[in-house]
Symmetry: C2
Subunit: 389 residues, 2 copies
């Protein structure tokens, strides 16, 4: 059986529906992966994550390497057993975290030296060790170690990072030995179409199980992000899954699928939930707003999540005002249910040849956070992420 089965491509545009065949079950695509960096999807039990409908989550090699350590996870039976999750797990290689969270990093062709954002201890990781760590964790899908550029870097800087990413990708490919574990390459190249083309071509030549788009949604305007997707996905092999890293607002999921993406991960739905921002078909609502103080109906009456089936918007408002921990759980359940149900509807629409109608309908009613607010929130988040994730 091939690793990925492409079941359907939309008659117009690039949207696709398929299936990933992992060692821990089949995953329907397009798929959103909830983020469980530290071996927990924040606030939820594995049963709850499963109950919402997810069977593939993301965990983070960088975080687990620092705490509790990959050896500890292995001694406790591997990541699935450790966190009591019997679905599939994709592990990020940690490249992005090393470049965004860890202070004092020094980069050489051999690998990267950095200090832990937790306790300041010094560490050295190479492409080979990162593959070894992910094999030891027991991930179903592993990622190569890449070098991330920052939005605003010059073409020369982005090119240098891309070329090192390519050399590291080759080494990861050679180091990878576990046949039950998929390995994805990561296309870099920033906002430069020619670099993206070179990166896609080079990585494709290494024949990975799937291809991720890295260095996207790192502060660039949304137009630029969509443009980059539009030129990159057509360069990737049709028969392999395509994964857009770090993207996950509802409108971006629709836009990403329309541009040929099969997999997404993002901390946004769970992070904003804990801040009281709840998804509805018309956009985000801030449950702390006084408008919800006496609202007897749930935040989204059409939603079938545990939160909306049991609690009024007023009760959620009360929990947030009192900073009760249950608030963060109920909001997380709601937002992840919203995202899961959006992805399920998207997939069904692709299968029914009605994706472009569903996408247009969704985007017509869903009011995204405005661009200025979005960028300033993103910037704030990038700054304090060390504490949060």
């Amino acid at each position: 059986m091939p690793y990925f089965s492409l079941l359907k491509t939309a008659p117009k545009g690039q949207a696709r529906a398929g299936e990933l065949h992992t060692a821990h079950g089949t995953v329907a695509t397009p798929v959103f992966m909830p983020v469980g960096s530290q071996a927990t999807v924040k606030t939820l039990t594995p049963d709850e994550v499963k109950g919402i409908g997810f069977n593939l989550i993301l965990a983070n090699t960088y975080h687990l390497y620092l705490r509790p350590s990959v050896d500890t996870v292995a001694a406790l039976g591997g990541l699935h057993r450790f966190m009591a999750w019997d679905g599939a797990i994709l592990t990020d290689s940690g490249g992005y975290q090393v470049f965004s969270l860890a202070p004092l990093r020094r980069l050489s062709d051999e690998g990267v030296t950095f200090r832990s954002h937790v306790d300041g201890s010094e560490h050295f990781l190479t492409p080979e060790t990162v593959i070894q760590l992910q094999e030891t964790l027991g991930a179903d899908i592993s990622m190569v170690l890449d070098v991330c550029s920052t939005y605003g870097d010059s073409r020369a800087q982005v090119e240098e990072a891309m070329l090192r990413t390519h050399r590291w990708a080759e080494r990861c490919r050679r180091a990878h030995s576990k046949s039950s574990q998929a390995l994805f390459g990561i296309v870099q190249g920033g906002v430069f179409p020619e670099l993206r083309r070179q990166s896609a071509e080079f990585l494709t030549s290494l024949d990975f199980d799937g291809y991720a788009l890295g260095g996207i949604s790192i502060g660039e305007p949304k137009e630029t992000m969509l443009k980059t997707l539009e030129i990159t996905t057509p360069l990737l092999p049709e028969e392999k899954p395509r994964y857009l890293m770090g993207v996950g607002s509802p409108e971006d999921l629709v836009e990403g699928v329309a541009r040929g993406i099969d997999m997404f991960d993002c901390a946004l739905p769970t992070r904003v939930a804990r801040n009281g921002a709840l998804f509805t078909s018309k956009g985000r609502r801030n449950i702390r707003n006084a408008a919800f103080r006496l609202m007897e109906r749930p935040i989204d009456p059409r939603c079938r999540c545990y939160t909306c089936r049991n609690f009024s918007a007023a009760y959620l408002h009360h929990l947030f005002k009192c900073e009760e921990l249950l608030a963060y759980r109920l909001a997380t359940i709601h937002n992840l249910t919203f995202i899961h149900s959006l992805m399920r509807n998207i997939r069904q629409a692709i299968m029914d040849d009605s994706f472009s109608e569903l996408g247009a309908e969704f985007l017509a009613h869903y009011l995204p956070t405005d661009e200025a607010t979005r960028l300033s929130q993103k910037e704030k988040w990038l700054k304090r992420r060390g504490q949060e994730q």
Copy 2:
């Protein structure tokens, strides 16, 4: 049907087993009530609380009066509907909170004026309004407004507070009109046997549905607490339930039952859970301790709670180290399961005439937090409680 059915009294000592017949179901006694001051048992959904086995919880009039307001709860269908709890609810009158949380209180025979610990707003409560508030909330069991002494008060101070408690108890009794709601009196009198006797006699003459012991476990040595119980419970009518307010460490539950108590509430099991202190048959264990870093077995291998069935002690240790919110949930589930199972075993032992053996066996193995640590923890907690509860 009487409000309370006494089913069995232990052949030796005072331990009793019975049933409370509330408007939201029958509750087996002796019973521990989890604390849900702000209309949520901290970190848990109502389904989880029910799933552990509880069908009676405590909520707090003082907290709900300030946030979201009793009128808001009423507008949203009453407290049961508001928090989606279909079991029974006992509401504390708020007396204890006014005297311990609220700054700037002024006491007169008419009632008590105080400032909110949340926003500094001024409020005036009387015995009559407190009864009205609890009827509006829709509690199954309501409590009279009492005046709480502080440990260390002189006999004259304690007597004055007790006499006012008695006058207020009479007014509460008259004000109470909802036949589906039970009303309990609160015996005061501090550590003075003669005052406890007077208080028990006076309140018994008013014929309440049950009797609480107030002003206990407020900083006095454990010996004094047990002595006070020993002289007070025999003064209360046998056919009415007896409720020891604010007590709930495992060893105190055993000691309390042995002295004739039927009902308990305490934030301790859930509060210490959030600090990483987990109950085992041998005493509390601090899960942050390095001894648990690699422990593959659950914190208590004999425990059947969700936490122990699914997760290693090492995983809990990791979650606490990372300050992941799931840590507080899993620890709360464990501690409440421990307490529920202890109470169930106690009740079974009373029914089987083996309570004194069970009590002795439990106390022989369970190492309580030592007295000095306990008192200093209590003091610290009393000081910062404003933020916590």
